[in-house]
């Protein structure tokens, strides 16, 4: 007998397949997002952990000036230090075939013999450096890929002013550079910035570092406290310019991966929760409808002696089929989305192998959550079915109770058309159905706002950074600070229209108990290249004394204009001075501090020196300028604004397009599914009413209008609400990912809102049209025969 009930179940399902699929799909959207995000967290975390362990990623890092190798023994004696790895680390520029401008990068030394103890490389392609080989380098994968470099290719590198040709032995990865980017840069710029490795003896010889090092990485023994080790290390290395050691939590590459995992964690909870609530309600609506339709069948089953629990489990199975469908779709969808996003992570994160790893616990959780949602959704409907006394159930339901809607009670009722009255009275009678339809549509609108908000934010930052703040065409940094005279030589470069020197220096700024390490930018007082901009977008003239910092830094330090900041210079004579905070600047990437260039030089007490310069260049003579630049000695780095901008655009466009597509798919499914379900239920519940209208002389179009008016009203409420929700989502996510290194302003554009509204409107309209087609098949005679 039970098997006959099951047969009934399948037939009911087949009859309601459209709605069952719609509910399953909305549920699947929530589950897919959850499975995707949790699997990505799992993939990133486990890959990161394995990579760090197998390649012995260090715990603490410190940059120093030239320090004799013997010092490593003393470092190793610091309590808590396990393994010490010393190397030479220098800024270089290089000439890459096919790249107009000089690229820049970081060159690290590798032991002449064997593997380094820490931060071991992973060989992707080619071979390791041969023992005693000269003229060979290993290249980081991101740079190699971006510039299509292969083992055996040759590149020209300027090593301490000497241009030398190197052969690429191999393409490698390093746990230190999972996120391979220019220091302080929010997005990777792999075409013009790369990481390189060469043998110690060769690099040390070129930079006069024989028997010495300038970069230390170390691990701490289990149980040791990182903070006490860094404090001891800083004390020990202070005479050697130890610029404040830092742990993994300040390691730029590590922080980027960690930030990403945090965003995923937010995604894995927030969105799925809302999707699943909507799906739970849709399940409820579909089942309530089914139970209402099958009142008499339920009564007959009961009259034949089926127990309440048998009937409850029969309808529960209906919900479970939807859950199984949703989980299946959601699982497949989650894996699909996850694989797409892993593909995107390959653009940013370099792991030996970042494969999509399915988080099975997410699947279990998904089944658990969606079953819970479905049970919650069907509970009241099933209880109604089970509690129905057989005799009562065999009678048709009494006519529904209505009353004038709230809008009419305000006294404007006479202005409303009949179909509008029917619509608002229906909505008021079933507020929960209206609420969840509005929620679903609002959610669909809201999630569309998010990726475009990122896009507009990035665009705003780039525009601000490169059109307002940095007006130069390119900037160069010298390997070592040089006298002001050097800038006269730079002025002679072909095509240089104007040159502005700058003097940057590493400092630690203290205020109260907080401190931050960063570079002070010493600029001309009213520079026309690198400008300091306040919150009103006006240029700030740098005063002869005093410090201007970015508002983010002031925030972090808890300092206000007028406060005295303690500035500890981390190079040269390492002076410590108290300098007043005289103003705040606006910027979006990192934290920054600005001073008048001469004030910086006074602070350092090294006379008139510069550490680099910015240029505006005659566009017609651009390539001439770049070629000349490539031959210039003593240049540590070069930034060409246009290529940086192009690279940024390419990377952000690719990743934001992917996110947009994903969210577009989800939003369309939800909008379509929610409207379809709502319209189908209205159609089923009101078949008699609509058929009556047709019979008494309403055209199809007029009857369709009665059905659609309700959806139009709901959409008109949902879309603006969705814009608000989307703004909230975007604000929340941006705040959650807002760090000292990367932050995006909340930029909300009319086109963003319009796109979201239009997409949801189109999806809803198409969905409503599908249901309206069913109206054409409405059986006029059958619908009139008997109630239900």
């Amino acid at each position: 007998m039970i098997s006959l009930l099951n047969r009934k179940l399948w037939r009911d399902l087949r009859r309601m397949k459209g709605q069952a699929i719609a509910v399953s799909l909305v549920m699947a959207c929530g589950l897919a997002m959850m499975i995707m995000a949790r699997s990505l967290i799992h993939s990133l975390k486990s890959t990161q952990l394995e990579y760090y362990e197998s390649n012995r990623f260090a715990d603490i890092f410190v940059q120093v000036r030239r320090t004799p190798n013997s010092m490593t023994t003393r470092v190793a004696q610091i309590p808590g230090v396990a393994v010490v790895q010393a190397s030479v680390s220098v800024q270089i520029t290089l000439d890459v075939p096919g790249l107009d401008e000089p690229a820049s990068g970081l060159m690290r030394s590798l032991p002449d013999q064997g593997m380094p103890e820490l931060n071991r490389l992973f060989l992707r392609e080619g071979r390791w450096l041969g023992p005693g080989a000269r003229g060979e380098v290993l290249v980081g994968e991101a740079f190699a890929n971006a510039n299509r470099l292969k083992p055996g290719d040759s590149i020209a590198i300027l090593l301490n002013g000497r241009r030398l040709n190197f052969r690429i032995a191999g393409i490698v990865l390093s746990p230190e550079f999972v996120f391979e980017s220019r220091p302080g840069s929010a997005l990777p710029d792999n075409r013009s910035y790369g990481i390189f490795w060469m043998p110690y003896s060769e690099l040390a010889a070129a930079f006069d570092m024989d028997g010495a090092f300038n970069f230390l990485a170390l691990t701490i023994s289990p149980g040791a406290v990182e903070r006490s080790v860094t404090a001891a290390l800083d004390r020990l290395l202070a005479p050697h310019g130890g610029r404040s050691s830092f742990g993994r939590s300040d390691h730029p590459s590590h922080v980027r991966v960690t930030d990403e995992i945090r965003v995923l964690q937010i995604l894995s909870i927030g969105f799925p929760l809302v999707f699943l609530s909507v799906a739970a309600f849709m399940t409820n609506a579909v089942l309530s409808r089914l139970v209402a339709l099958q009142r008499e069948q339920i009564a007959i089953l009961k009259a034949f002696g089926f127990s309440n629990s048998e009937i409850a489990s029969h309808y529960m199975k209906f919900a479970l089929v939807i859950v199984v469908g949703g989980t299946l779709f959601g699982g497949v969808g989650g894996v699909f989305l996850g694989r797409q996003l892993v593909g995107m992570y390959h653009m940013f994160f370099r792991f030996p192998e970042l494969a999509f790893r399915f988080d099975y616990s997410a699947l279990v959780l998904a089944i658990f959550v969606s079953t819970g949602a479905a049970i919650l959704g069907v509970f009241s409907a099933i209880r109604r079915a089970a509690n129905l006394p057989p005799a009562e159930a065999m009678r048709p339901e009494p006519p529904a109770n209505y009353r004038p809607a709230f809008v009419e009670r305000t006294g404007i009722g006479h202005l409303l058309s009949h179909s509008f009255r029917i619509a608002i009275r229906n909505l008021e009678r079933k507020p929960m159905q209206a609420f969840f339809t509005v929620s679903g549509l609002a959610l669909a609108t809201g999630i569309l706002i998010v990726p475009n908000c990122f896009r507009d934010g990035v665009e705003h930052v780039l525009g601000f950074q490169w059109d307002v703040v940095q007006r130069q065409d390119m900037s160069i940094g010298l390997i070592e600070p040089d006298s002001l005279k050097a800038s006269y030589a730079l002025r002679q470069l072909p095509g240089a229209i104007s040159v502005e020197p700058f003097r940057n220096t590493m400092v630690r700024i203290h205020f109260g108990h907080t401190h931050r390490q960063l570079g002070i930018q010493g600029l001309p007082a009213n520079g026309r290249h690198s400008r300091v901009i306040d919150s009103n977008s006006h240029q700030v003239s740098l005063p002869a004394e005093g410090l201007i910092v970015s508002s983010k830094l002031a925030d972090v330090l808890g300092a206000r204009v007028g406060d005295a900041l303690v500035v500890e210079v981390l190079e040269g004579k390492r002076p410590i001075r108290t300098i007043p905070l005289v103003g705040l600047s606006e910027d979006f990437a990192g934290i920054a501090a600005y001073m008048d260039m001469q004030a910086v030089n006074r602070l350092l007490g090294e006379g008139d020196v510069i550490s680099g310069a910015s240029f505006s260049v005659n566009n017609a003579r651009r390539s001439e300028f770049l070629t000349a630049l490539k031959t210039l000695p003593r240049i540590g780095w070069v930034v060409v604004k246009e290529s940086l901008r192009a690279n940024f655009k390419q990377t952000t466009a690719a990743s934001i397009n992917l996110l947009q597509t994903l969210y577009l798919i989800l939003a369309t499914i939800v909008a379509f599914g929610v409207v379809y379900n709502n319209a189908r239920i209205s159609l089923a519940e009101r078949a008699r009413e609509l058929a009556t209208l047709r019979v008494i002389g309403f055209s199809r179009r007029e009857v369709g209008a009665v059905l659609v008016t309700e959806l139009v009203i709901l959409s008109l409420i949902a879309v603006p609400l969705g814009m608000l929700i989307g703004t909230g989502f975007a604000t929340f996510i941006l705040q959650a990912v807002n760090t000292e290194t990367v932050r995006l302003p909340l930029v909300l554009t009319a086109s963003n809102y319009a796109f979201a509204a239009l997409t949801v409107t189109i999806a809803s309209t198409l969905s409503a049209l599908v249901v309206l087609r069913l109206l054409n098949h409405l059986n006029l005679v059958g619908a009139l025969k008997a109630p239900e």
Binding site: A400, N401, Y402, I422, V695, G697, L784, A786
Partner: protein, 247 residues
């Protein structure tokens, strides 16, 4: 609309409104084929009150649906005032129902979310030459229930609202399918009086389906249906008033 205006339409002619010849309706195919109408020949004239009597499945409702433009016959001729209803398209049939036909159903079929007045006004807004909705309800003695929703009305009241809705457009044809089927006898009589009154005062051709042989007395003509055909026809010498009926 005044009483005088109503009177103008009262003079009776015997012009034929419907003409059916060999009307056949077949549902399904092959083994499941059901001949709901098996060759009906029939003429229905203006102002007549015709009662269709017959057992379930004898084809009464199918005939009514065909007359009302809800269904099209499989074969045979069916015309209304010379308009061929068998070949009319969807839009023409909608137009025909809107302008010429009033329907009354067993289960009233009111729009539950609209009040009595609004249910009637729904039609008067789209009809060609309607009477005011209030007047139609007044005719049904429902002047005091204008703002009540269907759920607040008794079955008899709901059916009278349905009649008001059907006659408000001044239809030439009133088609009633078991209008008292869901009502007790006292309420049923009130509803029949209302139908009778609409037929008399508006001169509307009224076709009334029933299982109840007692209602035959109120008709001008009685058609006995069986097996999809008009089996027998009887013309009453005089119509008995609805309030004299008993069952």
């Amino acid at each position: 609309m005044t009483r005088d205006a109503l009177e103008i339409r009262l003079p009776r002619s015997t012009q034929t409104l419907f003409r059916a010849r060999g009307l056949t309706k077949v549902y399904g195919m092959g083994e499941t084929e059901v001949r709901a109408l098996a060759g009906v020949d029939l003429d229905l004239a203006e102002g007549e009150l015709v009662v269709l009597l017959g057992p379930s499945g004898s084809g009464k409702t199918t005939l009514l649906n065909n007359l009302g433009g809800l269904d099209v016959p499989t074969s045979g001729e069916l015309s209304y005032r010379g308009m061929d209803l068998t070949s009319a398209d969807e839009a023409q049939l909608t137009r025909y129902r809107r302008d010429s036909v009033g329907f009354i159903f067993q289960f009233y079929n009111l729009i539950p979310s609209l009040t009595a007045l609004e249910n009637v006004a729904l039609i008067t807004e789209i009809a060609r030459d309607p009477m005011p909705a209030e007047q139609a309800l007044e005719m049904m003695h429902l002047g005091g229930r204008l703002d009540h929703f269907p759920a607040q009305l008794s079955g008899g009241e709901q059916q009278r609202v349905a009649i008001a809705r059907a006659i408000a457009k001044r239809p030439e044809v009133l088609l009633c399918d078991e209008p008292t089927g869901a009502l007790d006898i006292r309420t049923g009589i009130v509803v029949l009086e209302a139908i009778e009154r609409a037929n008399r005062e508006l001169g509307t051709l009224t076709v009334l389906i029933t299982h109840n042989a007692a209602m035959a007395d109120m008709a001008d003509r009685v058609l006995y249906f069986s097996d999809g055909r008009v089996h027998r026809e009887h013309r009453n010498a005089s119509r008995a008033p609805a309030n004299s009926l008993n069952w």
